[in-house]
């Protein structure tokens, strides 16, 4: 069955680019795009999309327009978007993503629509636990010290650290410390 996709995006360039990339894909059925929010709710009722690709600035209204329907809502991101907004989406389509990656995300988002649309942490965002571990790593604690402090096994700490590295793309402890500071997770005074 084809995934029914509704694009909600004010920029004509972006819309036409996406249409151009997606129109011939065998597993995707594109509904005619929506450039603003005015009739979005009606369009959703009429078009029955499985997945919506929504401009990040329209996140809150678009999710509201879904009215609890089973729709996978993907955020279209082409500049910095704050984590709270990102968390409204099932997943993020970045403007720098390849065509293949975008199709892949759409198909995956269709499977989210089997559940009611609800905010999930996106996979680039650290979980609360990972953030806790990151803070300890940044302070210079070893895996064993972190495990003791958080009362978990060293293995668990290592697994969190793997996720932290793959999500942030930063491997060295010194780099993670800079990351923690730039994101206001730690105060520079704790480092000395």
């Amino acid at each position: 069955m084809k995934t029914r996709v509704l694009i909600v995006e004010p920029s004509q360039i972006i819309v036409e680019g996406l249409v151009h990339m997606l129109q011939d894909k065998p597993n995707i059925k594109l509904l005619s795009p929506e450039y603003n929010l005015q009739y979005l709710q009606e369009r959703i009722v009429a078009g029955k999309p499985d997945v919506m690709l929504v401009n990040a600035n329209m996140a809150a209204q678009a999710v509201k327009a879904c009215g609890g329907k089973k729709i996978g809502v993907l955020g279209l991101v082409y500049q910095y978007v704050d984590p709270t907004t990102r968390s409204l989406f099932c997943d993020i389509v970045d403007i720098r993503d390849s065509g293949v990656a975008i199709v892949d995300k759409i198909v995956r988002a269709a499977s989210y629509s089997s559940k009611p649309c609800e905010p999930t942490t996106d996979r680039y965002e650290l979980t609360k636990r990972e953030t806790t571990v990151l803070i300890e790593v940044a302070k210079g604690l070893t895996n064993k010290e972190i495990a003791n402090k958080l009362n978990v096994s060293t293995y668990t700490v290592i697994s969190h650290r793997k996720n932290i590295v793959s999500k942030t793309g930063i491997k060295s402890v010194a780099g993670l410390t800079v990351y923690a500071l730039l994101n206001n997770l730690i105060d520079e005074n704790v480092l000395e």
């Binding site: 793309g169 930063i170 060295s172 010194a174 800079v178 990351y179 730039l182 520079e188």
Partner: protein, 230 residues
């Protein structure tokens, strides 16, 4: 793939035009621009550079899948290897790192003071690490190689200790890129940030080749020389 992809008789200018990345390497052979219409062979000969060694390094540098065989290495005049690596170190430590640091200072000036210090310290630690790494090689490894190449017994150093001590100096540079790509405060993302990204990418690629040369060429080559002498 073990074939040399360049012909010694083509013009040096044509070779560099086709592969501009090679231009940064010329200085490490003691070659400079302005070679007129001379062939690769003649340019090398005029400066006393072994053309075989020159081409071998160009191939390694420019060709992902190329690694010379031990037979290739032993058939090549490798006396240029240590000077080449030495000049590479001088280029990285004396030119590229200060250049990048200069850019980073500009970026840091636009950052909240709180993070600027940490950001610069990250780089300073990296620079010290790299410098120490180079110093170790220059003090321990290079004299040993030169001695072996002169048909002597080498120093007390043994190349098997090298890989153990050979720390990875590329990871932190990649981390720096990620930080600049993703996590810079909006106040600090101007032209300087973009410029420095190019500089870091170039240095990172260069250092990866440098590590490849040391680990996949220098180590087996010196092992073979050590065996011959024992």
């Amino acid at each position: 793939m073990n074939e040399i992809i360049y012909d010694v008789n083509i013009k040096m200018s044509e070779m560099i035009t086709a592969h501009p990345g090679l231009a940064t390497m010329l200085g490490r052979f003691g070659l400079s621009l302005g070679f007129g219409d001379k062939s690769v062979k003649d340019v090398c000969a005029s400066r006393g550079v072994s053309v075989d060694f020159f081409l071998l390094m160009c191939n390694v540098y420019n060709n992902e899948s190329y690694l010379p065989s031990m037979d290739d290495l032993l058939a090549t005049d490798m006396s240029g290897l240590v000077p080449y690596l030495q000049l590479s170190h001088t280029y990285y430590a004396g030119k590229r790192l200060p250049h990048i640091e200069h850019h980073l200072h500009h970026i840091a000036e636009q950052m909240p003071q709180r993070v600027a210090g940490v950001f610069m310290r990250f780089f300073a630690e990296y620079r010290d690490e790299v410098t120490a790494h180079f110093h170790y090689e220059e003090k321990n490894v290079f004299p040993h190689i030169v001695s072996l190449q002169n048909g002597e017994a080498g120093t007390d150093y043994r190349i098997k200790d090298y890989l153990a001590a050979h720390s990875n100096i590329e990871d932190k540079l990649d981390d720096l890129l990620q930080i600049i790509f993703k996590y810079l405060p909006q106040s600090a993302t101007g032209d300087d940030a973009v410029d420095v990204v190019y500089d870091i990418l170039q240095l990172s690629a260069d250092l990866k080749k440098h590590a490849l040369i040391e680990e996949k060429i220098l180590v087996p080559y010196v092992k073979t020389l050590e065996k011959k002498m024992s």
